[in-house]
């Protein structure tokens, strides 16, 4: 019997529809693979085996009822997926990779998750993340790091490293991630999978534990752009619970494909090819761009002059917002509470003891940036530069349809490579931060390997709310290439 775990989302849905296998078969296969690989990978913080099997059984019953004439069949019925542990799923733990939420059970479900549940998915568990999504390697998880399925001496990237590794190792066909400064795209790149970071406002943030509220987005990691699109289709759209969600119509992300990229204008920003980046990364990305050109696209070098400000701007705005967003974790209503002589002691002991060092670093940074006397020089100034960065993108999209660039300057780092040097780690984010600051969508997907056999990723960016063009372009590329079909031996 073929290994159901290796099928694409489309094949899984098709196989269940044709009665070749059931959701229970599929879910059991995923759970078995998780059980086998988790000791090496540690992609999950919580596995809901019983719940998943029950949900799969219910999905199968619903399909049976539909065959008997029931008239509704949810589009993703029976599809197993994983959810990053910063999104609320009622009844499941939600730790955000932090000790401060140890034992917290979500009392409600995040809107994008609920929409997928309404579309029929089966949730197998919650994936590992850097604490409160702050990090680029999952080394900042309080519950231990996730390992890269391509080479377990390397990080999977972060903060959605658990989701990326779970998809790369074929434990699940798709997993939800979140992207505040690259946390979907960078781990997708490090793990050789495809990941969509939507436009700000395209997907509701309700139920996503906020890190940088003006930057946060909820996306999908899957094996291909098409698989990601099939799932993303059912998450997007306005939500009455999120005032910043857009009322723009959600188009079809899986519409039929053109044969080539004829007429597509691709801009390649020169600021994204910098001294010191890994040569293999530049080579693979340039080869992929050349292949797109061969598929009919017009390629031109462009300039996004404010790119170099992305790191300082992001590391003022995101921590500033985080310093307020994380104030609620005070030990008063949920999570562990440390004791103290007085209220201030309780706060100090709880927050000091339960937050990890990276979270504390960013809270301190943000608190400082917002302080009276420093606000104008830091937070205020950062907001102004952010506006200029947005204009960079507005101008670029007057002359090109998509921007193609590397996702990160390197392939997956070794464990510990930057843990003693936060600044070097922050600089890893230089290519992913601008999309969040500008609010534009980005799609990362694999374009080859480095000499050590680690995946190289490329990202495409488009105008706000033009995710459809990103999916389409990547799907045409993936129809002609097989990088996205490669899988790590670890999981093979």
């Amino acid at each position: 019997m073929r290994d159901l775990c290796l099928l694409s989302v489309g094949e899984m849905l098709g196989g269940m529809a044709a009665g070749e296998f059931t959701s229970q078969d599929l879910t059991q296969a995923c759970l078995a693979r998780m059980a086998a690989l988790e000791p090496q990978i540690h992609a999950f913080l919580f596995i809901d085996a019983d719940g998943a099997v029950n949900a799969a059984r219910a999905a199968d019953a619903r399909r049976a009822a539909w065959r008997m004439g029931d008239d509704s069949l949810p589009p993703l019925l029976g599809l197993p997926i994983a959810v990053k542990d910063v999104l609320m799923v009622q009844g499941m733990p939600c730790t955000c990779g932090s000790k401060i939420l140890e034992g917290f059970i979500a009392p409600y479900t995040a809107t994008p998750v609920q929409r997928l549940l309404d579309a029929g998915v089966v949730i197998v568990g919650k994936t590992n993340t850097d604490e409160f999504a702050m990090g680029s390697s999952t080394e900042n998880s309080a519950y231990g790091p996730t390992r890269n399925p391509w080479n377990t001496a390397h990080v999977p990237g972060g903060s959605s490293g658990g989701s990326a590794a779970a998809v790369a190792a074929r434990m699940v066909p798709a997993a939800l991630g979140t992207d505040t400064g690259g946390s979907v795209r960078q781990p997708a790149s490090f793990c050789g999978v495809s990941g969509i970071k939507p436009s700000y406002g395209r997907v509701s943030r309700y139920g996503l534990v906020a890190y940088g509220s003006s930057l946060d987005s909820v996306g999908v990691l899957a094996r291909s752009a098409e698989d990601a699109a099939l799932v993303f289709q059912h998450m997007a759209g306005q939500d009455a619970m999120d005032a910043t969600s857009s009322d723009l119509q959600v188009p079809s992300y899986t519409a039929s494909l053109p044969q080539n990229l004829s007429g597509l204008r691709i801009g390649v920003p020169k600021e994204y090819f910098i001294d010191g980046m890994q040569p293999a990364v530049e080579q693979r990305v340039r080869e992929a761009i050349a292949q797109m050109e061969a598929l009919g696209a017009q390629v031109a070098e462009i300039s996004l002059p404010y790119t170099s400000y992305a790191v300082p701007v992001y590391y003022l705005i995101a921590p500033a917002e985080a310093s307020a967003n994380l104030a609620r974790f005070d030990g008063i209503r949920y999570g562990p509470r440390e004791t103290g002589e007085n209220l201030l002691d309780v706060y100090h002991h709880t927050r000091g003891g339960c937050f990890g060092s990276e979270v504390k670093r960013r809270i301190m940074l943000g608190t400082y940036a917002l302080s009276a006397g420093y606000y104008d020089a830091y937070y205020g100034q950062a907001q102004k530069v952010r506006t200029l960065m947005k204009r960079d993108y507005d101008k670029a999209f007057e002359i090109v349809d998509v921007i193609a660039a590397p996702v990160a300057p390197t392939t997956a780092l070794r464990f510990g490579q930057h843990t003693d040097d936060p600044l070097a780690m922050y600089l890893e984010d230089v290519f992913t931060l601008p999309a969040n600051l500008a609010g534009v969508p980005g799609l990362a997907f694999p374009v080859g390997f480095d000499t050590a056999g680690l995946p190289v990723g490329m990202q495409l960016m488009a105008k706000p709310f033009n995710e459809a063009l990103l999916f389409q372009t990547a799907r045409v590329f993936q129809a002609q290439t097989d990088w996205h079909r490669r899988m790590p031996e670890q999981g093979g």
Partner: protein, 480 residues
């Protein structure tokens, strides 16, 4: 009287929090009013600040703030913003309060407060914005109990410039503010329920000086009397301190309503840094012309305007005008009756201030619920004017209208309550009364106040129907 008081001018500014009477809270769909509810029963993930939640603005809150801004003659800018005010406290579940910092719904403005001596105090508004309330903390022995019901209840914070000059002026400001918010229908204004809370900033300076001395802030002023008493006590304390050669320090005080005492909470520390920044989870509030006009479509005449008009147009005394503009429904009732009547408004005023208000109180009714409609009240006065009934009968008719909801004229006819104004009939009764009471007739010669007794006897004989004025005229003749 405090020694030295005449040498000082009192400077007061007030910061008020007005609880709005929206159905739901400001950022979620929980019920806003929890007065009768058990602790922590009107809460949801949003207002109790669970991880992952987002605020969604209740438009009605903005609309009520626009009404108040308009009433205060404040500017209403086309765009305003929400901001986060960061501080840690157990009853503030998000660790920040969503409020408006620099660009709020209303800007500037002021109100003219009438004073008892007929002068008017113009009070400028320093700040007017909307925000969410925090929860309530109660200390019980060594435990701290928190009720989150009040979290997310919508408030307007309104701060005056230091324009008030006495404890009484401060009290009058709050009285007028309370009247205004009830009139506009934006708050129940019930101070006992905390719908209107005030903090007072108090300082003194030598008469004629144009600088401001250090001020103290009195928190927790939840009644008009408390405000008046607390501010007066603080003024006296400051004067005594200055007279003794001391200095006023920037304290924060709290008023213990039960004990009637000011307590020092803290000395001025370094000012708290709330690290305000724009709330990224909410969009800017765009107040376009269409929305503003729809809010102000039924904008009412304000109580102080109506008070002035009642004095001017209806020639009412200040007292009557105040009473009849205290609440909008009663005021509307009065004016409807005046219009239906067409005669002297003071006569209607007397009925409303005495009998109508008594009935409202006794039966806990709103003016709109009275069976005695403004038109019926006007009719009763018209019947009196025509001497179809007398004063005594009028009250009886009024009671019957309240019972039956029928027109006064119909009741008078049905019950045969028409006054006996036939002079011959009244004269016959008068003669009978005089003949039957020779001793009183004799006494009357030295004691003219006995006339009332005689009139009373005539009324009794006529079972209340005789016209009292006619009876008195005839008795005067008979008793010589």
């Amino acid at each position: 009287m405090t020694e030295g008081i005449e040498k000082y001018e009192v400077i007061i500014g007030l910061e008020t929090h007005i609880q709005l009477n929206t159905n739901t809270k400001i950022f979620c769909s929980c019920k806003a009013d929890s007065w009768d509810d058990e602790p922590n029963t009107n809460i949801c993930p949003v207002c109790s600040g669970l991880p992952g939640v987002l605020p969604v603005l209740n438009q009605a809150v903005v609309e009520k703030a626009v009404l108040l801004s308009h009433a205060m003659d404040a500017d209403i800018p086309p765009v305003s913003f929400f901001d986060r005010k960061n501080y840690f406290y157990p009853d503030l579940p998000k660790g920040y309060q969503i409020t408006q910092y620099d660009l709020s719904v209303g800007k500037g403005g002021g109100i003219d407060i009438p004073l008892e001596d007929g002068r008017v105090r113009h009070v400028r508004i320093h700040k007017l914005h909307v925000e969410e309330d925090a929860g309530k903390t109660r200390n019980e022995r060594n435990r701290r109990l928190i009720d989150f019901n009040r979290c997310g209840v919508p408030l307007i914070e309104m701060v005056t410039e230091p324009d008030l000059r006495s404890p009484e002026e401060a009290a009058q400001y709050v009285i007028r503010l309370r009247q205004l918010v009830r009139w506009l229908g934006i708050s129940e204004g019930d101070m006992e329920k905390g719908h209107l809370r005030a903090d007072a900033n108090v300082s003194i300076r030598p008469v004629g000086a144009d600088y401001l001395n250090p001020k103290t802030e009195i928190k927790n002023l939840n009644t008009i009397d408390g405000l008046r008493t607390a501010v007066k006590a603080e003024v006296e304390r400051q004067i005594a301190e200055m007279e003794a050669g001391g200095k006023i320090e920037q304290w924060t005080l709290s008023w213990d309503e039960q004990k009637g005492e000011l307590k020092k909470m803290r000395s001025k520390e370094t000012e708290a840094d709330y690290r305000y920044f724009r709330e990224p989870d909410l969009l800017p509030v765009v107040m376009d012309d269409v929305w503003r006009e729809s809010i102000l479509l039924d904008y009412p005449e304000l109580p102080l305007e109506r008070r002035a008009r009642f004095m001017e147009t209806y020639q009412l005394p200040v007292y009557d005008a105040d009473v009849l503009t205290a609440e909008r429904p009663l005021s509307d009732y009065f004016e409807a009756a005046v219009k239906a009547y067409g005669g002297e408004p003071k006569k209607i005023s007397n009925w409303v201030m005495n009998d109508v208000m008594r009935m409202l109180n006794e039966q806990s009714l709103q003016p709109g619920e009275l069976k005695l409609t403004p038109a019926y009240l006007a009719e009763i006065q018209s019947l009196l004017d025509a001497r179809t009934i007398n004063g005594t009968t009028a009250k009886k008719v009024m009671e019957l209208v309240m019972e039956r909801g029928q027109s006064p004229r119909r009741i008078v006819e049905a019950e045969g309550l028409g006054a006996v104004s036939d002079e011959g009939a009244i004269r016959a009764i008068c003669e009978r009364v005089v003949a039957a009471n020779p001793a009183e007739v004799e006494n009357y010669k030295n004691k003219p106040t006995l006339m009332g007794w005689f009139v009373g006897q005539v009324m009794r004989e006529s079972r209340g129907k005789a016209d009292a004025k006619t009876a008195q005229e005839i008795l005067t003749q008979l008793l010589g």
